[in-house]
């Protein structure tokens, strides 16, 4: 009973807080952000929120966004869609029609972003997707959707290039993929890329969402004697797979995992087992760009992020902050809040930010980024590609 009461009290307090803290200034730019703050994707939702918040606070601290000489405060309207895609769509419509959001940040991941972009397209609201990489999201012919992740193959191709060039003894590839949109798409691309490089795919298995044990799949993997293991999943899947590979003594020359190792939670949870795990992501704190946005250089962004959150930003957090920065640049360039004009400014954008060079292709997906490949070395992710920001050489196992 006490627990119930406490929760209710907390609920009440939070409610009061939420209603009094709402910004009531007149000159505000409202950006709607449907996020999965609860449910299966909530770790991802919270990351995105950290990025958006940093952008909004930095922009407001600098006096807001100048639109035709007049400063506007940024207000981000968050709504939790509980990791439920239809709910994300519903929320997107609500943010546009009820909350009168001027712009939208798309919900997390390719599936939800694709579903929600249909709504913002119909209302003509410029929408930036910070975490959607699949081509299918952008090839719908929509004019108001822009994305800060390059297509999935830009993660896979450099990897296969590095590995096949670096050690000709790597011949046999085993793929274990989570049966989910992004993770399956990466696995399929990997399979094709490996074949194209003359590698032999000795195992290609999918596992269901919610799998609690990978022992059998790993037994099978052990039997296939792979030189390269490529596993996809969310962080919890990958932690478990890494652990169970060690349990059965599977230690390939190359172990690649996407999309966990970029997060510090992965190295914390796997400890020494994280060593030499390779991965690729759309961004990495080791990259160095000199941007024209509010953060300036990548180092400055990293510092600002660390100051606020006490951790090094990862690619999802950076991409979210970049989405805000990019939106701000477009608004300032357009000199108006008119959605069509801001949209045109986004489409015509060609400049450099802390996140990297920003130029959107005809579908709205960013084309100017070169996603880094990295490897956990000495407990930290270090960049091994591209050459311009490379911190160390790729290490092959024995």
């Amino acid at each position: 009973m006490q627990a119930v009461r406490t929760v209710f009290a907390a609920a009440l307090a939070l409610g009061l807080f939420a209603s009094t803290s709402a910004v009531r200034a007149q000159d505000v730019i409202k950006v709607g952000a449907p996020l999965p703050l609860t449910g299966a994707l909530s770790p991802e939702g919270l990351k995105q929120q950290r990025g958006y918040n940093l952008w909004a606070e930095t922009a407001n601290a600098a006096g807001g966004i100048k639109v035709g000489g007049k400063p506007y405060k940024v207000e981000i309207v968050y709504v939790d869609y509980a990791s439920n895609t239809p709910r994300a769509v519903q929320v997107a419509e609500r943010l546009i029609t009820e909350d009168k959001a001027n712009f939208l940040f798309a919900p997390f991941g390719s599936g939800a972003a694709k579903a929600a972009s249909g709504v913002s397209e119909r209302y003509g609201i410029p929408t930036i997707a910070a975490t959607a990489s699949s081509r299918e999201v952008y090839d719908q012919g929509y004019k108001f959707l822009f994305g800060t992740f390059t297509p999935n193959e830009t993660l896979i191709d450099p990897l296969t290039e590095i590995v096949s060039k670096g050690d000709p003894a790597v011949k046999r590839v085993a793929i274990l993929a989570r049966n989910d949109l992004l993770t399956l798409s990466l696995a399929n691309l990997m399979q094709a890329a490996a074949k194209a490089k003359g590698l032999e795919v000795v195992m290609m298995e999918r596992y269901a969402i919610g799998t609690m044990d990978h022992a059998s799949a790993i037994t099978q993997m052990r039997g296939a004697k792979p030189d390269w293991v490529f596993a996809t999943g969310y962080i919890n899947d990958l932690i478990l797979i890494r652990k169970q590979m060690a349990d059965q003594g599977v230690s390939p020359k190359v172990l690649t995992m996407i999309a966990g190792p970029a997060y510090k939670e992965f190295t914390e949870a796997t400890g020494p087992l994280a060593e030499n795990v390779s991965s690729a992501s759309w961004w990495h704190p080791a990259v160095r760009y000199k941007g024209v946005d509010l953060f300036g250089t990548t180092e400055a962004f990293n510092a600002a992020f660390e100051k606020k959150y006490n951790v090094v930003p990862d690619y999802a957090e950076a991409s979210a902050a970049a989405a805000g920065a990019i939106l701000q640049l477009a608004i300032e360039k357009a000199g108006t809040l008119d959605p069509a004009k801001v949209r045109d400014a986004l489409a015509a954008m060609d400049l450099v930010t802390f996140y990297g060079p920003v130029k959107f292709g005809p579908t709205g997906q960013i084309t100017s980024l070169e996603p880094p490949v990295f490897q956990i070395q000495g407990g930290k992710p270090v960049v091994v590609f591209p050459a311009a920001v490379k911190q160390a050489d790729f290490i092959f196992g024995k």
Partner: protein, 288 residues
Amino acid sequence: MIYLQVLANGLVLGGLYAAIAVGFSLVWGVLNVINLLHGSFIVLGSYVAFFAYAYFGIHPFLSAGIAGAALFALGYVVQAGLVNRVIAAPVLITLILTFGLDLILNNAMLLAFSADYRKVNLAHPLGSLELGPIFLPGDRVAAMVLAFLLTALLYRVLRDSRIGRAIIAVRMDREAAALMGVDVKRINAITFGLGAFMAGAAGALLSIIYPISPLNSSLFLGKAFVVCVLGGLGSVPGAMVGGVALGLIESFGAYWLGPEHAITLSFSILLVLLFVRPSGILGKRGYE
């Protein structure tokens, strides 16, 4: 040879599943309550172990006792304060009540601990046992053995203690037990507490194996369901048999049909079993 490894995988996994299900089975069997809080209880046990290790360096194998005790208290209060009020009501009512309570508890954990996955990383990991071509993960085997010992202890308590006899009496016939002077409400609360104890202890043991997050509670709960139906309700041996059976089914299913079909297979078997033998593999023999 590879089948021996798959068999070993299945047995070890089955041991963990049994640990997950024992407390759930006890509550279901004795109180006829499906405790949907069970998954969250396990996760809470994991968090107790996580923090005990992070702040005080207490090994999860020791903090299993602490986690169990804490969860016993929580379980006792939940039953005595809330569930007891509707214990005589039809199935649907208690089911939906524990569902509501689970929403609250899970949400509270999400706020308190966030959904980020954590894991207990032992300073001295147990490594793997190599028996010829077979690898046995040391931590899993150790957790399984400890869970087995706890279960055996529960079994002795139920068989030999006064309270245990009272619990069995309530399970057999609530009215008769009341007439014989058993304080049924108190026994209900103790039983629910014992179920929570087993959940908490299991959660602590699992903290060295699974990433910890409130999001995992429904996975644990799902497994507990299947194990109970496989093994038969309210029986300690039933939960053990059901757990091992599920471990073997998933292990061989994943090996033969591919890992994506392992879950489908276990639910299909659950449906078939409900159809042909609702009392489970061991039948309704209970705690005797």
